[in-house]
Every structure is written in C-alpha cells, then in structure tokens.
C-alpha cells in the first residue's frame, strides 16, 4: 500500500471513531449537535499538551484525555436539557466557535501556530507509524463499535429509544431523560476525544483550524449519509465522504458546500441514511445478498 493510501485510510478511521461518538448523541439519544469537532479538538489538544509539555506517553495521557473530553461534554450537555432542539443546534455551533477561538488565541495552546512536535505512539518499544499505526486506529474503531453495539442491545438503548420517540411517555415509565441525555453526551464526546487524540499523534502537528465548524458539518454529513442510529452507518458514511474528495479533487475546495448540500438532500429524501430502514440502498443490496446466499 502506498503511503498516500495509508494516510487517507488512517484519517478515515480516526474520523469514523469521532462520527460513531456523534451517532451516540444524535442517532441514539436524538440530540442534535453541530459542534462535534470541538470535542475532537479537545481530545487532540489535551493529548498534545500532556505529551509535549508534561512529557508523558500517549498511553498514560489517553485516560486523562478521554476523561477531559467526557467531562467537558457533560458540562456542555447540560444546556441540552433545558433548550429546545433548534436552540441546541445554535448552542453547539457556538460551542464549536468558542473552543476553536480558545485554541487559536490562548498562547498556552500555541496560538495561531498550533502545537507541533507531538510524539508518535510507542507500542512495546516500537514507534508506530504507517500501517502499524493504522492498525492501532482500526483496533480502537473496533472497540468503539463494540461499545455502540452493546449500547444498542442493552436496556440503556431501550431507554434512549423511548426518550427519543416519546419523551414524556418515557419519563412516566421511570426513565430519567436527564440521565440518558447526559450519558449520551459523555459517551459521544469521549469517543470524539479518543479520535482527536489519535489524530494529533498521527499528524504530530495540530492547529485550531483542524477543529473548526466546517469539520463538524462534515462529521454530521458522514453520519446522516451512512444512517443515524445504525451501527455501521458512521463507518459507511465516513468511507464514502473520505474517498469522494480523493477521487474528485475539485470537490476539496467546495467541501463545505458539498457537505451542506448533501445534508439537506439526505434529510429531505432519505432521512434514515444509506443503512436506515427502507432506504433505497437497502432495497438494492438486500435482494443481492439474498441472491448470493442461494
């Protein structure tokens, strides 16, 4: 595999981890978030600060990084309990801009220059890059998918579904909407933090622009394209939107326009995404698979 392909593949896997986190918030708990890149950034910046300024390793920093992301996610999840859906969309956009501005203007975070010299991940004495680092990221993606799978199987998912569909009725069943929304924010932002950490150690250099609002729109487009609330949707969506700009180079310059257009079209014509129930993709693929089995 050429280095170019490995780079694209690694970045896609890292993004897929973050999009899985977004799926927990948007797909499972039904809370809109347009600022997910902020948490991706919080993960990246915390690991960058911890490893470059304190000199601790990626592995030691990881629990802290995930903890910081989840804690900030919890704090920022609190407004979601009070505001209506449209306000939540605006609030999360605001959060994205604030977080980006903090990274950009606070000297501690390197200001406009960002943070460089982030060390590579060491694994049993080996410095991971190229394919081995890609495999490490893939391992984390599998772990994240396992957590998501468990979430869709447990009583927690039943509670999340119930809240999403009929919040008042769910609360009359003894289900606390507050608890589950916060739980979704914590899990979702922790996953974003993990993705951000891997991103930082892969790029070795990060700056505020990597975590701006258009990146959040991109995450949401990937999720909506693949299928909100499905297990594999985030992976499929990330794959497609990760590969497309590589195939059609001009797309890169119009990425934000393309993402927004895609989001609007999907929500209008195929809100369940490619993997959603009754999607046109499913209608084509399911008979094919049946045919293959025969």
């Amino acid at each position: 595999m050429s280095a170019y392909v490995v780079t694209i593949a690694t970045l896609m896997v890292v993004q897929a981890i973050a999009v899985c986190g977004l799926n927990v918030i948007v797909g499972y708990a039904g809370q809109i978030s347009l600022g997910h890149a902020a948490f991706f950034g919080i993960g990246a910046y915390s690991t960058a600060v911890l490893t470059t300024k304190l000199g601790i390793s990626f592995w030691t920093a990881l629990p802290l990084v995930i903890g910081i992301s989840a804690l900030i996610g919890l704090l920022l999840g609190l407004p979601s309990l009070r505001v209506r859906e449209d306000f939540l969309a605006i609030t999360t956009i605001g959060i994205n801009f604030i977080v980006e501005a903090v990274f950009r203007y606070v000297p501690f975070f390197g200001g406009a220059l960002g943070i460089g010299g982030i060390p590579r991940v060491m694994f049993f004495g080996v410095r991971l890059k190229g394919i081995p680092f890609f495999l490490l990221c893939l391992g984390f993606l599998v772990l994240v998918l396992l957590i998501c799978w468990w979430l869709t199987r447990s009583w927690a998912s039943l509670a999340c579904y119930a809240i999403r569909e009929e919040e008042a009725a769910a609360s009359t069943m003894g289900i606390s909407p507050v608890r589950f929304k916060l739980l979704a924010f914590v899990i979702g932002t922790a996953m974003a933090g993990l993705g951000g950490s891997l991103y930082a150690h892969y790029m070795q250099f990060i700056s505020a622009g990597d975590f701006s609002f258009p990146i959040s729109v991109g995450f949401l487009a990937m999720l909506v394209l693949g299928g909100m609330g499905t297990l594999w949707g985030p992976v499929v969506g990330t794959l497609i939107l990760g590969i497309l700009p590589e195939l059609f180079r001009p797309l890169v310059d119009y990425r934000i326009f393309f993402y927004t257009l895609l989001l609007l079209l999907m929500i209008r014509f195929q809100p369940g995404g490619l993997l959603g129930e009754n999607s046109f993709a499913r209608k084509i693929i399911t008979p094919l698979l049946k045919g293959l089995r025969k």
Partner: protein, 236 residues
C-alpha cells in the same frame, strides 16, 4: 388516603387551565373525573404524574409530598399513567414497549412472568408481540399503553381518555378489564373521561370538571342521577 390532590392551579402562559382543583383517592378505589373538551382533565393528570407540575397546590402520595419530584421518580414509587392517545413507542415492538414499563425493575420483578401476565389480560398483544407498535390499530395501541403501565404492578393507575377513538364495543371491553383489575387485584384507578356513561358505570365515585374547576362531586350513582350531568354528559 393513597393520593391527595390539594387545590392545584395550572396555567400555560396566560391560559388558566386548572384553578383550585382538589380530589383524593383511597387505596383500592376506582373513580372518575369527567369533563368536556378543554375542561382541564389531561392537565390534572399531567400534574399528578409530574409532566407539567402545578404552579400552586400540593400533591400527596402515601403521606409524602411529591409536588416537586420528577415524573420518572413518581413512576418509580408506583404512579403510572396511560397517556392521552396511548403514546406507545412507535418503532419499538410490542414486547419492547412492555419491557420499557419494567425499566429499572428487572432485579425486583420477574420480567418474563410480568409480561406473560399482561399477555393473559390482553391476548391480542401476545399475537402481536414482535410487531412494531406503530403497526397496531388504535384500540390495540390503547391496550398496549395500559399493559405498559400495568406491567410494573403500580400502586395507582392514571388513565387519560382511553375510550377516545374506540368503537363502543371495545370501550366496554377495555372498561370491563379495568373494572376487573380493580375488583380482583384491588388496583387503584383514576379514570379521566369525556365518556361519562362508560366511566361512571364502573366507578364508585366521580368528580365533574368544568373549565378548570370542580363543579360537582359525589357517588357515581348520584352523578348519574344529577339533572345537570344528565343534560350535559349523558345526553338526556
């Protein structure tokens, strides 16, 4: 007294929906609150359940003031509701809808046993157990909504216009089931209804609500004999 509602006031912005309503229910009773459209019936039930708490007044359950606790906490101490228009979870199956009723109770109650006891009360639900709830007919959804509330074995069941949209035969059947649960298992039930005939027929007492205040109260028989009730609700 199992549940006591004391002088509650509820308004939505400028609209005063309930002003100064009081009532109570003893353990093992089946009573009705009847009233026309917009009288404030759902508002009262939502206040008791904690979905939209009253601005004034007190709600006492088993001697404990519950006016300020969340609805999910009320559900856990044994208050369950069949909401207006059933409100089943549309994209969960019948079985999963029943499971939500047992949320948080799986270590306290035998889950499968409770669910099969609901199937024996509502056999149609067993036939449909793997079907998504939004594919059920209106009457079946009402039955599912009742079963979902009952599966946790509550202390008191609040029922909001279960007769709405059901054909008369089904209304009698559903009220028959509620009466039977009350008589045989001593389940305490508060019915809120426009259908005064069917609900007073199974109740021991009742309250008549008119534009947010309690206009009349008495035994079901007294209310059915009352000339005003006859005129407005019973259609003679």
């Amino acid at each position: 007294m199992l549940l006591e509602v004391n002088n509650i006031h509820v308004s939505y912005g400028d609209i005063q929906a309930v002003c100064g309503v009081s009532f109570h229910i003893e353990k093992g009773e089946l009573i009705s609150i009847i009233g026309a459209n917009g009288a404030g019936k759902s508002t009262i039930l939502n206040a008791v359940m904690g979905i939209f708490p009253p601005q004034q007044g007190k709600i006492i359950f088993k001697g404990q003031d519950i006016t300020n606790i969340f609805s999910h906490q009320r559900a856990r101490i044994g208050i369950r509701m069949v909401p207006e228009r059933a409100r089943v979870f549309p994209r969960l199956t019948v079985y999963e809808n029943l499971l939500t009723g047992l949320y948080g109770l799986r270590n306290k109650l035998p889950v499968e046993e409770r669910i099969s006891s609901m199937y024996s009360v509502f056999p149609i639900l067993e036939e449909r157990k793997n079907q998504l709830a939004n594919t059920l007919s209106g009457g079946e959804q009402q039955q599912l909504s009742i079963a979902r509330a009952l599966v946790s074995n509550p202390e008191v069941l609040l029922v909001d216009e279960v007769s709405m949209g059901l054909m008369p035969k089904l209304v009698d059947q559903v009220f028959g089931i509620l009466e039977q649960l009350n008589k045989e298992q001593g389940l305490t039930i508060l019915l809120v209804e426009q259908n005064a005939v069917a609900s007073l027929a199974v109740s021991s007492r009742g309250y008549v609500l008119e534009t947010g205040t309690c206009a009349l109260q008495g035994s079901a028989q007294e209310l059915m004999d009352n000339s005003r009730v006859k005129e407005v609700y019973l259609g003679h």
